[in-house]
């Protein structure tokens, strides 16, 4: 479904990522973890074609990302809670309707079917009753659900989420992860989730890729936990390990 091969990326002389390869199958739930500044978000942006790698290639659904056209197959939940314009005059329903715009395409108005789908996804994330509230008036956890709903509204096959639980309390986070679990297990949506919450990822994801400028560990959650306790890259901060785990 998604193939990442030998990706490298630099900002000027600073190499942010080197030689990263990932392979994401349909139905996978991949957690990408790593310390701050490890290049997780950069990797995600490269996978989505927002940044161009210095070398290597990304293929989405078998097509090189620069020629990829079927963007509605991809849902994206950006790291919003922290950089969000709380005064933006837009309701929950209007935000989720944006997810339909890509499906409709240029010059096509949204229809009653779009309205119906918006209702369906808002019910899925249990936010329908808040449909007419301004997005800025919601709590961080509720906003995150709305952004998930927007991603779902494009009827994607895979959803990328960038640190979706930043600034959200533990209890809300639990509800959020159970929603993701439901999407993955019941709707068979492929998920790629960036997080620094290693315990949660180890518990929830099907595979874990640990990034620290390079791919330091990639495999099942159990393997990651074993690796993590042996090397402790999270408490050590910027310990860069050349070891690569063959998957």
């Amino acid at each position: 479904m998604i193939e990442v091969k030998d990706i490298s990326f630099s900002y000027g002389p600073d190499e942010i990522l080197s030689n990263i390869s990932l392979h994401i199958e349909k139905g996978d739930y991949l957690g990408i973890v790593g310390p701050n500044g490890s290049g997780k978000t950069t990797l995600l942006k490269i996978m989505l074609g927002l940044l161009r790698p210095a070398s290597g290639l990304v293929a989405l659904f078998g097509k090189d990302v620069s020629n990829f056209k079927e963007w509605p197959k991809i849902g994206y939940v950006p790291q919003k809670v922290t950089n969000f314009d709380a005064n933006f005059p837009v309701t929950v329903k209007e935000v989720v309707m944006m997810g339909r715009y890509a499906r409709r395409g240029l010059f096509h108005e949204t229809t009653v079917q779009d309205e119906r789908l918006v209702r369906q996804v808002l019910e899925q994330v249990e936010m329908w009753e808040h449909r007419d509230r301004l997005i800025g008036d919601l709590s961080g956890g509720q906003q995150q659900r709305v952004f998930i709903a927007r991603a779902l509204a494009t009827e994607p096959e895979i959803i990328f989420l960038d640190e979706p639980t930043t600034g959200i309390d533990q209890k809300t986070q639990n509800g959020f992860y159970s929603l993701l679990r439901k999407l993955n297990r019941e709707l068979h949506l492929t998920l790629v989730l960036i997080s620094h919450d290693i315990d949660m990822i180890a518990r929830e994801a099907k595979h874990v890729a640990c990034i620290n400028r390079t791919l330091v560990c990639y495999g099942l959650p159990a393997e990651f936990l074993k690796y993590n306790s042996a090397t402790d890259i999270f408490s050590g901060g910027v310990k860069i390990i050349a070891h690569k785990h063959d998957h």
Partner: protein, 265 residues
């Protein structure tokens, strides 16, 4: 007495032009304000003065030359901004001061026309000709139709440019379209409020409507209502009290903004 104003052809044309501009300005304004591009309106307004000066010099309809100048500059600004060679607001300063300098020099060459300068700086709604109305209506129609065509993409980009890009929306092209539409709006607003007050027309009704904290669609409607009321009231008030029309309109808008802000506190 109330009916008096309608007996004058110039006043009727003023009202027609005023209504058209009052409708267009907030439609563009909402996207500019929410994207923190408010200053672009001001910059393009100054650019339009250079265009007006060129028109005055070569004896061509100044609305048309202003339009050409603003369209070219709007694309130049967008280019400079996205190239990241200069900071966004520095790009605006370059164009703002550069075009003002050009306008001053051109107007000094065309010495005899300096008397008209005030009309362009502060608006001269009473000198709107039938021909102007025709040009203004045509440009306004282009702006409205284009906005309708790209309405949903513009909302998405304005709210979340990155997610819009991931969803496959051609963000760059649509940004460029918004710039060109802004240039159109600025050009057709010159006769109503003048170069120095155009930004007010584009920005204030939207900022006032934003205080009401409504949905996107309702915010646009509120901004439209504020804009139309202010422009019409401004024309009528300035007619009866012999005041500068552009300034009166902008002051009424500011009073509404103040009122809404206090009410919503």
């Amino acid at each position: 007495m109330i009916l008096d104003i309608f007996q004058y052809g110039f006043a009727l044309r003023a009202i027609e032009a005023g209504i058209i501009v009052a409708i267009i300005a907030p439609l563009i304004g909402i996207f500019l304000v929410l994207r923190r591009y408010s200053l672009i309106a001001d910059t393009l307004a100054h650019v339009s003065l250079a265009g007006v000066a060129v028109g005055a010099l070569i004896g061509f309809n100044p609305v048309i030359t202003a339009l050409l100048a603003t369209v070219v500059s709007s694309l130049g600004i967008e280019r400079l901004r996205t190239s990241k060679k200069v900071y966004g607001e520095s790009a605006l300063s370059l164009f703002l001061s550069g075009s003002l300098a050009l306008a001053v020099v051109l107007l000094s060459i065309a010495k005899g026309l300096n008397a008209n300068l005030l009309n362009y700086l502060f608006g001269s709604i009473v000198t709107v000709t039938t021909n102007d109305i025709f040009i203004i209506s045509a440009l306004a129609a282009v702006v409205i139709v284009t906005l309708l065509l790209f309405y949903k993409e513009l909302i998405y980009i304005t709210f979340d440019e990155e997610a819009a890009r991931v969803s496959g929306i051609p963000v760059r092209s649509i940004n460029a379209i918004l710039m060109v539409l802004s240039a159109f709006t600025v050009s057709i607003s010159i006769p109503i409020v003048g170069v120095l007050l155009i930004a007010a027309l584009i920005v204030i009704p939207v900022v006032a409507a934003l205080q009401l904290r409504q949905s996107f669609a309702k915010t646009i409607l509120c901004a439209e209502a504020i804009s139309l009321f202010s422009v019409l009231a401004g024309i009528v008030v300035s007619f009866y009290f012999d005041l500068a029309t552009g300034g009166t309109i902008v002051l009424i808008m500011l009073i509404i903004f103040g009122g809404v802000s206090v009410w919503k506190k």
